[in-house]
Symmetry: C3
Subunit: 139 residues, 3 copies
């Protein structure tokens, strides 16, 4: 049994879904784990990780349009506005879409479906550097 | 320490929550793991896995009514409509309810609460065959 | 490789986010695991676990205000009302915010970001005693 953990920095281009599948695949390959799981965790509360359709970019645009409507920037409901109109909406989006994701590993690779990609979702409008902690466990 | 992984095909009856607790229990039993975790992952982006109340079927009907209102089919917000009015809503529902779930294993069985069941949620209107990858890890 | 599992009872003070970071840290410390993951699972379908900003309490108040608006108590959409106006909304909130969370473990401690806390979210209005099962795996 092996446990391997790596922390990587990812610069997001501002609000939206940023494909990190290749980076995660690299960490899984370097771990030497052939069969097990890969846990991906973002160390922030205004970004999150999702699994999403990876073929048509329109899916991520539509997802962002949906989230922007579901959790409106500048909503007067929110009292926590220290960092601006997108501050509290980013925390809410993070809770609804989640801080981490676990993926199966098989034959030394992520065992994803054909149309699945892993995305770091930046919920703040501005670009940020985000820490992502990847833990691969198995044999 | 043991890692066991199995992929199973599940035919959903169309949109809604499909109980897979028994199938997952079987894989956990076959793994030989007595103490650890069970990761369940669906290899699609228009279906998901949830833990939900298992006693009153009305809970799953109400949940579906809620999701149908929260993410309306045919919403003009969406540009990705290649597969129909329920295409993009299925992707959004999948992101909000999640692609995978991790469950504790104890005494060789899933350690669920009394009223908890595991459900494969089909978000497309039509029935589909879905691949589910189950990874059991522990000792 | 080590697997350690512990079940703890937590009394919530009624609806809202209840900080359990210290309790989880204690279980991780007692497990002897230095590198790996910690899975936290709540054995109920009307409570959940989230990772949230831990500096400004207003964030959790705003999150609760948001969820109360997103999933209104007493919504006439719901047929499952056996335990009151907050019964079905609690199940929906649990599905949207999730039954479990996985966290990285490093140097024998939770590897959280500076502003991340772990919260048991009580979705019922009344205080409840909730069972939380923590499984730590790694080396």
């Amino acid at each position: 049994m092996t446990v391997a953990q790596e922390s990587i920095s990812i610069r997001t281009g501002g609000r939206g879904a940023h494909d990190v599948t290749t980076e995660i695949e690299r960490v899984v390959g370097a771990s030497g784990v052939r069969l097990g799981t890969c846990h991906v965790f973002v160390s922030h509360t205004s970004a999150s990780l999702i699994v999403c359709e990876n073929a048509d970019p329109q899916v991520r645009y539509d997802l962002e349009a949906y989230l922007a409507r579901l959790v409106p920037d500048g909503d007067r409901l929110f009292g926590h506005t220290a960092e601006g109109r997108d501050d509290m909406p980013a925390h809410v989006r993070s809770v609804l879409t989640h801080t981490g994701v676990v993926l199966p590993v098989s034959a030394g690779r992520l065992r994803l479906g054909t149309w699945q990609g892993i995305y770091l979702y930046e919920h703040r409008i501005a670009a940020h550097t985000r820490q992502v902690v990847i833990t691969v466990q198995g044999e």
